[in-house]
Point group: C2
């Protein structure tokens, strides 16, 4: 059996784990995301301790962004302009590599989650699909022809501009854009719009969910028109509201209005827009799957 390390860094928690090439997590720890000087040594200690018992072939890191993912860049492996100031320009790849001395693979949290769902989840055998997470922010990872999409920087799909719901006058919470998806439909946007602490506590029949389903329906329509994915996986904290996904499916169909003439969109939308099969662990499994692809660098 071959063993790998996995690190998933999120806005509030960092998870690290040892797993095998079948996607089994053998050991896992979760630490709060504080300053890197506080959180990273805990992660190092976990791996150094485990590494003494189990030989790790590589470590995969699925990290909140924006990131420098260009291998030829002098700052490859660092978190760039994040609002979390203590993590700005922190080179996480270099730090982990120095501490543990195994090959490191590195990508965004959402690309990691997409890969995790392809390797051991809802996108097994599918070469072109997207993974959406709706929580504190909105992010999307895209697999296109079996390659995770990167490009000039990396996609930042949560910030696409969308037409407003006819009855929504809420001011966007995005400091950059008045009409972007994240500014109108992320967890904090819902919570501020309805003045509530926890969005998922809003009743199933609250108007909030019609507006939310409309915005996510528009976004999925736009991404379907732009990327032509074979499947759309949508997870994140807000999707814990069980009744939401079916509303999103209906809105998306209504918005596309029969234009994309494919069976799965017209008649089998419940197989097109789906929850993650590994809800809550897609990202960490993705980091494990990234590690499998790590090369000596």
């Amino acid at each position: 059996m071959t063993y790998f390390g996995a690190i998933e860094t999120g806005g509030t928690r960092c998870s690290c784990a040892i797993g095998d090439d079948k996607g089994n997590i053998i050991k896992k720890e979760v630490y709060p995301t504080l300053k890197p000087e506080i959180t990273m040594p805990k992660i190092f200690k976990f791996f150094i301790h485990e590494h003494a018992k189990i030989t790790l072939k590589a470590i995969g890191i699925a990290c909140f962004g924006p990131l420098d993912l260009h291998k030829e860049s002098p700052t490859y492996g660092s978190i760039t302009t994040t609002p979390k100031t203590s993590w700005q320009h922190f080179n996480i790849v270099q730090a982990v590599k120095t501490a543990i001395r195994v090959p490191i693979a590195f990508d965004t949290d959402v690309n990691g989650a997409a890969l995790g769902e392809q390797r051991w989840g809802a996108a097994e055998g599918i070469d072109t699909f997207i993974y959406i997470t709706v929580g504190t922010g909105i992010g999307v990872g895209a697999m296109i022809n079996n390659h995770l999409m990167h490009g000039l920087i990396h996609p930042e799909m949560g910030h696409i501009l969308i037409p407003r719901h006819s009855s929504d006058n809420f001011e966007s919470i995005c400091p950059y854009h008045k009409n972007c998806l994240e500014g109108l439909a992320s967890g904090p946007a819902i919570e501020k719009r309805w003045d509530i602490k926890e969005a998922t506590n809003l009743a199933n029949d609250h108007k909030a969910w019609d507006i939310e389903a409309y915005y996510l329906g528009v976004a999925i329509a736009n991404w379907s028109l732009t990327l032509s994915p074979k499947k759309v996986i949508i997870g994140g904290g807000i999707l814990n509201k069980k009744s939401l996904i079916d509303k999103i499916r209906k809105e998306c169909q209504k918005i596309l209005n029969g234009y994309l003439k494919h069976r799965v969109i017209l008649d089998e939308i419940e197989d097109y827009i789906v929850l993650p099969k590994r809800m809550g662990e897609s990202g960490l499994l993705g980091a494990l799957a990234l590690a499998e692809k790590a090369k000596e660098v």
Copy 2:
């Protein structure tokens, strides 16, 4: 020298040509797009006549869509649900293959144009970029990691939904969507909004161009956020309005508002959003480049 055939079918005209592997067009004919029973025999005649003199290794077809591009599909090679009723379900690949008996490569007109610009134009050496055409319709071809993007059907980016310009109450001309780009910003939309025969005849300082630049700026912002292209090529009849591209660049920067922190977007937008280098011939050159990749099928 190796010679290839190229066919570009458009809404009003079909072009066919013989070219070499350096992108030189040796002979070219243009026919009006009438019914396939009328237009196709002219194309066959052109190739059969030329084929007697020059051996063609393959023919590439860059075709208006929507298309069936799935090689394993029984209707691979056909135009599917186009509003041009006489072309509906016409299998252009089968027809050309039967008449000329060489390997055929086949893709959308916009994917063809993207490939043409990569092979011999504004995207030489770039692995991830988009090619936009704004004319009778709005279409986009995307090259991602050196692969033309297809997916479930193929992208239909012209129909993404966008927020309206604050002073635009014009009803979309798209029969499917009230707020889609093509319905608000294609040539016929401009012409209907301002009740004019030829959009490009509107004066440089007409308000029409502020609205048009806003819509195309939003669309390019959304595609930049979604696909992270390294270059955005924009052509088509409407871009013959020389003053437009600079307005689009400014709108796009204004809309992104500094969120995508990359030098080419922040400071070198004139190298990021560019006209095609082979304006007016990208599609036919793309068909030639497609032919180079044709395999015996």
